[in-house]
Symmetry: C2
């Protein structure tokens, strides 16, 4: 995580200013391991800086992504989530509660796609889907209802 000074420098080198709003959002991102959504961050930010606007949160997140200081995670489920972890890592998603966790996976760089010979690949992302332990426990025979929505679709609609 960038120090306040480095963050300021980063902004400056991008022709931008380090405002209190930006500083706060950056800090909140790094305090939160849960891959928060913009709305979530807005709620947290509002607590510490009443009056901050949701628009500013969205804007700041976009900028950070643009400056390479933040990664967007889009695994379905409605809102985009953000990950300040810039290191080499991947994600596991609980199909039940939707939590996303960072994981390390070895051997990813060795994967080769066949059928994309004409692509110049720049990045590879791996997403594991499963059920976390706490959801596993509370997983009664509710699974029965055959006409239930698929987890993916549930994620889409549940808010």
């Amino acid at each position: 995580m960038l120090s306040p000074t480095d963050l300021a420098a980063k902004y400056r080198s991008n022709g931008r200013k380090l405002t209190p709003q930006r500083k706060l959002i950056f800090q909140l991102l790094h305090e939160n391991e849960m891959h928060p959504t913009a709305e979530l961050l807005f709620a947290e930010a509002s607590a510490q800086m009443p009056g901050i606007s949701l628009r500013t949160v969205y804007q700041t997140l976009s900028e950070l992504v643009e400056m390479g200081e933040l990664q967007m995670i889009d695994i379905g489920g409605g809102a985009t989530r953000f990950d300040p972890n810039l290191g080499d890592h991947h994600h596991v998603v609980c199909v039940d509660c939707g939590q996303i966790r960072d994981v390390h996976v070895s051997g990813v760089s060795a994967l080769r796609p066949s059928g994309a010979e004409d692509f110049v690949i720049s990045e590879v992302g791996v997403v594991f889907q499963g059920v976390c332990s706490s959801c596993e426990k509370s997983r009664v025979k509710t699974v029965k209802s055959s006409r239930a929505k698929s987890p993916a679709l549930q994620a889409k609609s549940s808010k």
Copy 2:
């Protein structure tokens, strides 16, 4: 791809009927390798069946997902895309034009995430990002404009 008869059977076994709308959408899905969005399919369907509603397209797609005959792809970029390919495969995305292509990748099942020991993993998805050959060609020094949106964000907003 299911034959018309098998498709009807599938629907029947789910307590559903194979209507002309459903038949058409299923067919269009399998004629299209581009992982279309609901809107795209709606456009194509409208051409052959004027009056079909967008609502029906969404509904039909959800049903197919639910019945396991269709896969949702959510790789950011705004709208959900659909893939009728049920086989074991993964995807490459062109960060420039947004096209998605199916690819085969060996060794995926051997990947093990560390940091998710308490998860029961059920699926693994790999997404490669890169630039396709046609975009590579038309990729002039336009890359210069440092303040340009990141590809991911562009995908989000461009429609």
